[in-house]
Symmetry: C2
Subunit: 232 residues, 2 copies
C-alpha cells in the first residue's frame, strides 16, 4: 500500500469519451451509441466509460473502443478534456475526449448493434447528450488539421484503395471539393503510394487502380526530415 500524501477530499469521476470516425459510401461517419442508462437514457451519445484506478487514460480509451467495436489496433489520439461542473447531468464528471480513426470494413457490426450503436453520416448527426456535440466539432477541426500534416487519412481506408476514393475521403473531411489533377499530382509526388496491378471496377467501367500506403517508406522519409503535407 502506497503512503498517502494528498488529501482525499475532492476526488472526481473521470470519464473517457471517444469520437469514432469511419469512412464508408464516400461519407465520413461517426459511431454513436444509444445510452442504456440514466441520465439521458435512450438518447444518442459518444462511446464512453469511467476511468478505472488501474488503467491509464490511453488504456481506458482503448478499452472503450475495444468493448464497443472489438477492435484493438486502432488509431487513437487524445483530443481535449472537458471539465465544466455541470456538463454531465448525473454527477460532476471530468471527461477526457479521444478521437479514433478506423476502417469501417474491419469493424464487427454485430458488436455495435448489441450496443445500439450506429454509423451516422456526419451531416446527419443527431443531437448528442451533454457536451458531446462540442467534442465532435472539436474532433473534426483537429482531424482537418491533422490529415494535412500526417498521413492519418489512410487509417480510415482499407489497405488497398483507389485515388478517387482517397480524394473523396479528403473532400469529406475538408468539406469541400478538390481539383482532381492537383490532388493526384500532390499526393503522388510524395512518393508514398505503391500502385498495385489491380483495378477496382466497382465504381466505373474503366476501373481505378488500387494503391497502398507505404508505411516503411514514410518512416524512412520522416527520419530524413520529410514532412507530409497535403494543403488545400
Amino acid at each position: 500500500m502506497m503512503k498517502k500524501y494528498y488529501p482525499d477530499e475532492d476526488r472526481q469521476l473521470v470519464a473517457v469519451d471517444c469520437i469514432i470516425f469511419g469512412f464508408d459510401a464516400g461519407m465520413l461517419k461517426l459511431l454513436v451509441v444509444k445510452r442504456s442508462f440514466e441520465p439521458g437514457k435512450g438518447r444518442w451519445s459518444l462511446a464512453g466509460g469511467f476511468l478505472r484506478k488501474n488503467e491509464s487514460l490511453d488504456d481506458c480509451a482503448s478499452r472503450v473502443l475495444l468493448e464497443l467495436t472489438g477492435l484493438k489496433e486502432v488509431y487513437l489520439e487524445q483530443l481535449q478534456s472537458y471539465g465544466d461542473i455541470a456538463r454531465d447531468e448525473g454527477d460532476r464528471v471530468v471527461s477526457v475526449a479521444y478521437y479514433a480513426l478506423l476502417n469501417i470494413k474491419d469493424h464487427n457490426l454485430d458488436l455495435s448493434s448489441d450496443n445500439d450503436a450506429y454509423w451516422c453520416p456526419l451531416d446527419e448527426m443527431p443531437d448528442l447528450i451533454f457536451d458531446h456535440g462540442d467534442m465532435v466539432g472539436k474532433a473534426l477541426k483537429r482531424l482537418k488539421r491533422k490529415v494535412k500534416i500526417q498521413p492519418v487519412g489512410f487509417e480510415l481506408l482499407p489497405g488497398k484503395f483507389t485515388l478517387p476514393q482517397l480524394q473523396t475521403l479528403y473532400e469529406s473531411i475538408y468539406q469541400k471539393d478538390l481539383d482532381k489533377r492537383n490532388f493526384r499530382k500532390k499526393i503522388l509526388s510524395m512518393d508514398l503510394l505503391d500502385k498495385l496491378p489491380e483495378k477496382d471496377k466497382s465504381n466505373s467501367k474503366k476501373g481505378a487502380y488500387f494503391y497502398s500506403f507505404n508505411q516503411k517508406k514514410y518512416n524512412e522519409l520522416v527520419s530524413d526530415g520529410f514532412y507530409f503535407n497535403l494543403d488545400v
Copy 2:
C-alpha cells in the same frame, strides 16, 4: 442534493498543472516553483493544484495562476491531460496541463518569490518532477504552432513593443533566426500594428519605434475571414 446516478468507486484526484511562459531579456522563460511538500519536496515543478468540486478545469487553472502570480486576465489554454497510473509518485493523479502566456513586467515578483518561484530561461530548464518536463516540451511545440496562426505572441510583450523585440520573441519561440526584412515586411503587411510616435532607446542610440497591436482591427479582419499567418 443531486440524485446519484453513477457508481462511487474509482474516483480520482484530478490536478491542473500550468506551463507559464514569459519573455524577458530577449529570452523565452518558464515559471517554475520549488515544491513545498512531499513527494518531491524541494524539487522544481510546474505550478499546480488539485481540482475542486465547485470549479471547472478552466477555473482551476485560473486559480492556480492567480495564487502564484496575482494576475487575473492571462492568456490560458488547455494543452493535454496526463493519465499514466504512476505518473505522480504520491498517488494516482490525473493531471490536466494548461499553458499560459504573460508579460513578465506585469508580474508581481513578490508573490512568486514567496512561493520559491523562478523565471527560468527555457534553455537552462532544470529537471522537473514527474512528467512535467514532457508537459513543457508539448507546450513549446503547441506554442510554436500557435504563434504562427494566431496573434498570441503579443501576450508575452508589453502593450508597447518594438519590431526588433517582436522579432526576437519569434526567434526565441521558433529557436531559429529570422530575416529582418522579410519578418518586418510580413508582419507589417497584415496591417495589425499601430506605429507610435515614440522610440525605445534602451537598446540602441538610434532607437526603435514602438508599435502596439490593434486588437480591434484584428477582430474586424477576422470576422471578414482573415487568417493571421506568420510562416517561417
